[in-house]
Symmetry: C2
Subunit: 442 residues, 2 copies
Amino acid sequence: MLTFRVFSLFLLAVTTATAQTPPVRVQGERINAHLQALAQFGKNPQGGVSRVAYSEADLAGRAYVLGLMREAGLSVQVDAAGNLVGRRAGTEPGLQPLVIGSHIDSVPEGGNYDGDVGSLSAIEVAQVLNERGVALRHPLQVIVFENEEGVMLGSTAIARGIEAARLDLVSQSGKTVREGVQFIGGDLQHLAAVQRAPGSVAAYLELHIEQGAVLEQAERQIGVVEGIVGIIDCEVTVQGFANHAGTTPMNQRHDALLAAAQFIEAVNRVITAVPGRQVGTVGWIRAQPGAYNVVPGKVVLGLEIRDLDAEKVKTLYAAVVEAGTTIGTRTGTTFQFDPHALSEPALTDAHLQAVIAQSAQALQLSSQRLPSGAGHDAQEMAALGPIGMIFIPSVGGISHSPKEYSRPSDIENGANVLLESLRRVDAETSRNAVRPFLKPIQ
Amino acid sequence: MLTFRVFSLFLLAVTTATAQTPPVRVQGERINAHLQALAQFGKNPQGGVSRVAYSEADLAGRAYVLGLMREAGLSVQVDAAGNLVGRRAGTEPGLQPLVIGSHIDSVPEGGNYDGDVGSLSAIEVAQVLNERGVALRHPLQVIVFENEEGVMLGSTAIARGIEAARLDLVSQSGKTVREGVQFIGGDLQHLAAVQRAPGSVAAYLELHIEQGAVLEQAERQIGVVEGIVGIIDCEVTVQGFANHAGTTPMNQRHDALLAAAQFIEAVNRVITAVPGRQVGTVGWIRAQPGAYNVVPGKVVLGLEIRDLDAEKVKTLYAAVVEAGTTIGTRTGTTFQFDPHALSEPALTDAHLQAVIAQSAQALQLSSQRLPSGAGHDAQEMAALGPIGMIFIPSVGGISHSPKEYSRPSDIENGANVLLESLRRVDAETSRNAVRPFLKPIQ
């Protein structure tokens, strides 16, 4: 076995480099230095960043990253949706581009690795290819998608277009999406032009932090992502009756916050009652009017349910709605559910999973397959071609938090797997011609 | 019995008015017209008002009320704490003033009767005395206290002074108390000068809506208040751990909002587990960072407990703290409790209770004794002299709500009881000289 592995590595070495030159690898120190520099934009006193899409910090961070893309030898444009798109020519005419990328916007009070690792590693891959004079047969595109967190706006524009109604939604920055896209240099008049056709991408590869603790607990260096979970988000309004908190007897209240509290517990019960890896969260809440001396008359809260199986998401959502309705009847309040459209699960391409696993093995890195509990731009790009995702460990499984952390060595490993996978895909698809594209089963 | 009552009324008539002139009564239509006019300041589209202390609406409402006070023949000053103080001279030298009043600030999304009824009725009482040429032996003061809702700030300044730390608190208006007092024309340099000495008020009488449903359910027109409940307010901070809502398995979360939900339910359980009229409320809540896709890491919420028995308030508070601590241990979160100083229960003067009851009887109005579940400026004024409070019914027991309502006839009744009680107290204390002041038992 050992003999075989050594032999494989020998074969790899002779196919990708001469005996005199070192193998083509990323510069881990450079990626990590870029991560530290990017962390300054939107830095919070308590650690981490608040670089929500369309904020001043986002704008400044994008300018910094655009500079890095140019230094990497890419020809860069801000597309009409505000995505940063860097291009590098291929050698073989008629091939669709290979696309790599991620995002640099953050959640409020987020960390310095979610999106940033994938974006800066993709730029590093381009830079190393350039510095080492490695030509790819396919054109290469490095895309830093805009507003991934709010959600997947830039990649949606490219993959299937943005409905007009979404432009009027208010983003975390306080700006509408319309205002935000203009703020970062997009061009609303030509938004539709960024949409691409199915089959127009030879392959999309994204490196990302796991944001969970599966790899850490299994002591694996690389995660080969099987798919991205489906998500349902729902705004829930609990209508009770505001009244004086001193003079309204306990048994005469219609306390919307007490009903909401019972609902939050019910969500937890419903989600944990069945086996599986599904998650359900109430992440935000507002109580009105909101004073010590008033029984809350109205509560609005945000519910979210995720699983790799769309049917399971729908079944759990229905059970949660039923639980809320029951609580409403019992407490003399009403529950209204306003769900957003289900974000369908997106499976990764089985062949790209194999390429990523083989690349990790070739680099002597341990790996395992796992689902992604988080949404990613890759799920939108799945509409255009086969997608593959590479995860690296998140220390303590922490993400969307100032304490989010991935080790520099893991980041370097992930970037090398991205580079290696990209080169293997470039080599094989040019050998085998472009494989017919089948949209992954939703 | 009937004969006796008729005879009493006959006696009253000959002592307060000649046979030729009608009895001195308020003009109910005028009070209700003034209430409607005041309701324009801070009016909400959905009904009711948001005239929180130190807001633009508060400032405008105060200017309107100051005008009414002057029309009523009062000599009006804005004191250093921002209270509107109207004065009318008495005929007998050396007597301490009788004080009547209330407030006109509201909670956010409040109603048009809480405070307003008592303030405008007190002004009406002064106006009627003036129009009818009725002299009182005691000086009369009509005070419209500033910032009752946030809480009892103006009356506290008069009764026992404001601690410097309270000036830095942020009020519902967004302004600090310091900024707010300046905004409404107070004088921070001379704030201490508004404080009065114990015994300096002959009697304080306040008319107020009940804000509960006791009178309505008992079909009584007038409430004779036994005392004002004690209140403990407490800011509760639940510290969990913010993490990605998609990638953090349910059993690895430290969800501050889920823990807070359990706490809100526990507060309800603790308060309702023992017999009595105590109330406990969680009236406001904030979850951080507050997004669909982040497990909340921190929740801050506002807890309040009220009862006429201070010991009971303390016992219930301790039980709630214990429940929170237990939930923290079970959920991997921590609970921190930052209570404000207990607002002690304030009992009304037994003799003034009798005067109010007798006045209601003389006016052929039904009455009953009851506690006040709400805090009032009267509780602060109890430090300076005997206090009495008159309640009128709140339809449906609704208050601190746009649906707060008291019938015009009930308002007129209440104002007449205030007028009658004031005249009786004025007559008797001048007969009996000033009774020694004993601070009510706390």
